[in-house]
C-alpha cells in the first residue's frame, strides 16, 4: 500500500510527462488537461503518503546487487518534501494553464515540469546515495532546460548554462561522498551510513562532510555559489515558483538535514555551515534591497531565506530548518506565482515601470501581501513562527554575533519586502493601460497557497511528531503545537526579532526623512548592485577557462593516429604502474 503510493508520487508525474510529450503541440488543450490531471493525481498521492510515513516501510527494487538495491524510504523528512514537490508542483501546473496559454512548444514545457516533479519526489524519498545522485542530476537537468525554455533569448540560455555548471560542481561533492561511502562501508544505503559514520576514519568523514556542504551550497544557491539563482529568473514564472523557490533549491538544505547526525561531530563543519548560511542571508538581503527586477528581488530573498535554513541546520535545529523550509516553500511559491500574474498582465518585470497596480488587480494584491507579510516575519503567518524557531535555534546552538547578523537580516527582509510590495501595488502608477486581474486558473493556484500561508503553522506539532517517529538518528524531540507556540511567544529572541522587523518596516515608512542615511549607505548599495564582485569572479573563471581551452587547442589535431598513439601510451603507463604496484 505505502510502497505503491510512494512509487506513484514518482511515476505518475513521469507518465504524465511522457503522455504530454507524445500528444504533440498541435493539441494544446489536451496537453493542458493531461498535465493538470497527472500533476494533481501526483499531488493527491503525495498527500496520501504524508499520512503513511513510517521508518520501517521500505520499497526495494532489486537491481542485481552490484551497488546495493534501489531503495525508497518514506520517512518524515522525505515524505513531507515529496508532498511539497507534488502539491506545489500541481499548483504551478494549474497556474501555467493561464500563464502559458498561447505559448509555443507546450509539450517540451509540461514534459520537463512533470519530469522534474517526479525526480524531486525520488530525490527526497530514496534511501540509496547513488540513486540520490542520479535524481539530483535529473532535477539539475530539468532546471537547466526550463531556465533556457525561451531558447531564442541569449540571456535565458546563458542563465541555464550557468545554473547547470554551478550545480554540477556541487554534484561532484555528492558523488565523491557516495563513492567514499561505498569504498569504506561497502554500501550506499543512507541509513547504514548514518549508523556507522563513527567507524569511518575522521579525515574521510571530513571530506564527505565538506563535499556535501559544497553540494548543498551549489544546489541551494548559497555563498559562494549564490549568483546562479538570480540569473535563473529568465525561466517562465511558474517554473521559478516551483523549481527555484519551493522545491529544487531546498534539496541542499534537505541534504544537510538528512546527514546532520553523521557530520555534526566533524570539527569545524557546523561552524562552516552556519557561516555559509549567514553570509548568504546577509549578502542576498542587501542585494534584494537594491534590485529593481521583481523576480530578481524574489530570487535574492529566496537565497536569503535558504541561508536561514542552512544556518539553522548548522546550529543543530534540524526541525526549525525543515519547518522554515515548509513555510518558505508555501509563501515563496505564492509570491512567485503572484509576481507571475503581475508580470503576465503588465508585460514587464521592472518594478520601476509598475506601481499602483493594487487597484487594478485586487485579488493578486491581497494574496501577494499575505505572502509578503509571511516573508517579512509578521505574526501570525507561517513565516513568523518558523523564522522565530530558526533564530532561537541559532541563539542556542551558535555564536551570539552570528545571531546578531541574522537578526539584522530579519530587519532587512522586512525592509526589502515592503519596498517591493510598495513599488508594485501602491505608489504612482507608471503603466498607462488598464490591466486585467489574474485568470481563473491562476486564482485556483493562488488561493490554496494563500490559505496555506495563513494556516500551515498549525501543522507544526504533527510535523515534529512525524520527524521524531521516523528519524532514528536525528534525535528530534516531538513537541506539540501549543508547546511550540509557548516557546516562541515567551522567548526573548522573538520580541527582539519583532522589534528589528518593526524597525525595518519603519525604515521603509520613514524613508524620506532618512535621506541622509541613504547617502551614507550608497556605497554599499553600489557594491550590492554588482553582486559584491561575485559576478566579476564568475566572469573571470569563464574567461580563464576559455583562454586555457584556446591555448590547448593545438593538441586537438584531429588526426586519428595521434589519438590512438596517446591511448596506447596511456595504456602502457597504466600497465607499468600496475606492475610496479603489484
Amino acid at each position: 500500500m505505502t510502497a505503491g503510493i510512494l512509487l506513484l508520487t514518482i511515476f505518475l508525474p513521469w507518465a504524465g510527462a511522457l503522455f504530454v510529450w507524445l500528444v504533440g503541440n498541435d493539441r494544446p488543450r489536451l496537453q493542458h488537461s493531461l498535465a493538470v490531471g497527472f500533476s494533481v493525481a501526483g499531488g493527491v498521492a503525495g498527500l496520501a503518503l504524508l499520512a503513511l510515513g513510517s521508518p520501517d516501510e521500505m520499497v526495494v527494487l532489486s537491481i542485481g546487487g552490484a551497488f546495493g538495491n534501489f531503495s525508497f524510504r518514506p520517512d518524515g523528512l522525505g515524505v513531507f518534501l515529496a508532498t511539497i514537490a507534488t502539491v506545489i508542483g500541481s499548483l504551478a501546473v494549474i497556474f501555467s494553464v493561464d500563464y502559458m496559454r498561447h505559448e509555443a512548444q507546450l509539450g517540451r514545457y509540461y514534459a520537463l515540469v512533470l519530469f522534474f516533479i517526479g525526480s524531486m519526489s525520488g530525490l527526497v524519498l530514496t534511501g540509496n546515495l547513488f540513486l540520490m545522485f542520479a535524481f539530483w542530476e535529473m532535477t539539475a537537468l530539468c532546471s537547466y532546460a526550463l531556465i533556457s525554455f525561451y531558447n531564442d533569448d541569449p540571456k535565458a540560455v546563458a542563465g541555464g548554462i550557468k545554473a547547470l555548471v554551478m550545480t554540477q560542481l556541487g554534484g561532484i561533492g555528492l558523488l565523491i561522498g557516495a563513492i567514499l561511502s561505498y569504498s569504506y562501508l561497502g554500501t550506499v544505503e543512507i541509513n547504514v551510513l548514518l549508523d556507522k559514520a563513527e567507524l569511518l576514519p575522521s579525515n574521510v568523514l571530513g571530506i564527505m562532510a565538506f563535499g556535501f556542504l559544497i553540494a548543498a551550497a551549489a544546489k541551494s544557491a548559497q555563498f559562494p555559489f549564490q549568483t546562479w539563482l538570480p540569473d535563473a529568473m529568465e525561466a517562465p514564472t511558474p517554473v521559478s515558483a516551483l523549481i527555484h523557490a519551493a522545491t529544487m533549491v531546498n534539496a541542499g538544505v534537505y541534504l544537510l538535514a538528512r546527514f546532520y547526525p553523521a557530520f555534526a561531530g566533524v570539527p569545524g563543519w557546523q561552524e562552516a555551515v552556519m557561516v555559509v548560511g549567514m553570509l548568504s542571508a546577509l549578502l542576498a538581503g542587501l542585494m534584494a534591497l537594491v534590485a529593481t527586477d521583481l523576480k530578481r528581488v524574489l530570487a535574492y530573498s529566496t537565497v536569503s531565506q535558504l541561508g536561514y535554513m542552512v544556518y539553522a541546520v548548522g546550529a543543530g535545529g534540524v526541525f526549525a530548518s525543515q519547518f522554515h523550509l515548509f513555510s518558505h516553500a508555501i509563501f515563496k511559491a505564492l509570491l512567485f506565482l503572484g509576481a507571475g500574474a503581475v508580470i503576465h498582465s503588465a508585460g514587464t518585470r521592472d518594478m520601476r515601470e509598475m506601481g499602483g497596480l493594487g487597484k487594478q488587480m485586487p485579488f493578486v494584491r491581497t494574496v501577494f501581501v499575505i505572502g509578503a507579510l509571511a516573508l517579512a516575519g509578521i505574526p501570525v503567518l507561517n513565516g513568523f513562527w518558523s523564522k522565530e524557531l530558526v533564530l532561537e535555534a541559532g541563539l542556542q546552538g551558535g555564536a551570539t554575533w552570528m545571531f546578531g547578523v541574522m537578526l539584522f537580516t530579519a530587519g532587512l527582509t522586512a525592509l526589502y519586502t515592503f519596498r517591493c510590495v510598495w513599488m508594485v501595488f501602491w505608489g504612482e502608477p507608471h503603466h498607462p493601460a488598464h490591466l486585467h486581474d489574474a485568470g481563473p486558473a491562476m486564482k485556483t493556484a493562488l488561493a490554496p497557497l494563500a490559505f496555506g500561508t495563513l494556516f500551515s503553522w498549525l501543522l507544526a506539532g504533527s510535523f515534529s511528531h512525524l520527524l521524531e517517529k521516523t528519524l532514528p538518528y536525528h534525535d528530534i524531540h516531538a513537541v506539540s503545537l501549543v508547546e511550540i507556540l509557548e516557546e516562541v511567544i515567551f522567548a526573548p529572541a522573538t520580541w527582539i526579532a519583532l522589534g528589528v522587523v518593526a524597525l525595518g518596516v519603519l525604515t521603509w515608512v520613514f524613508r524620506d526623512s532618512l535621506r541622509l542615511w541613504q547617502e551614507v549607505f550608497a556605497g554599499i548599495g553600489q557594491t550590492a548592485r554588482q553582486s559584491f564582485g561575485f559576478e566579476w569572479l564568475n566572469q573571470a573563471v569563464v574567461r580563464t577557462t576559455i583562454q586555457v581551452a584556446e591555448d590547448l587547442r593545438n593538441l586537438h589535431t584531429g588526426v586519428l593516429n595521434w589519438n590512438v598513439l596517446a591511448i596506447a601510451l596511456t595504456l602502457l603507463v597504466v600497465v607499468v604502474i600496475l606492475a610496479l604496484g603489484a
Binding site: 589535431t557 584531429g558 588526426v559 586519428l560 593516429n561 590512438v564 596506447a568
Partner: protein, 102 residues
C-alpha cells in the same frame, strides 16, 4: 615455458600489438576497422584466459560473448559510416577528413 596459459598470453599480446599497430599506421578507414577487430580479438582471448586463471570459466566466457556482440555492432556501424564517408567525400583517407582544425 610451453605451459598453455603462457602461450595464450603471448597470442593475446601479439593480437593486441598487431591491432594497435595497424590502427596507428593506417590512414585508410577500412584498414583501421580491421585493426580494431584484430585488437578486440586479443581482448576476447584475454577475457577467456582470465576466466580460466581465476577458475571462473563461465564468467569469462559469458563476458567474452557479450563483447563479441558489442564488437560486431561496432564493426557494422563503422563500416556503414565508412561507406557513407566514401560516398560523401570521395575518399577514405582519415587525414583528408580533418575538419575539427581551423
Amino acid at each position: 615455458m610451453f605451459y598453455l596459459p603462457n602461450i595464450v598470453l603471448v597470442v593475446v599480446l601479439a593480437l593486441l600489438g598487431i591491432g594497435i599497430y595497424c590502427i596507428l599506421i593506417s590512414r585508410n578507414l577500412i584498414k583501421i576497422v580491421v585493426g580494431l577487430q584484430i585488437a578486440v580479438k586479443g581482448a576476447f582471448l584475454a577475457l577467456v584466459l582470465a576466466g580460466k586463471l581465476a577458475s571462473q570459466i563461465d564468467v569469462g566466457q559469458s563476458i567474452a560473448l557479450t563483447v563479441i556482440v558489442a564488437d560486431t555492432i561496432v564493426a557494422v556501424v563503422a563500416l556503414a559510416l565508412a561507406v557513407q564517408i566514401r560516398r560523401k567525400f570521395g575518399t577514405l583517407d582519415v587525414h583528408a577528413l580533418m575538419s575539427l582544425r581551423r
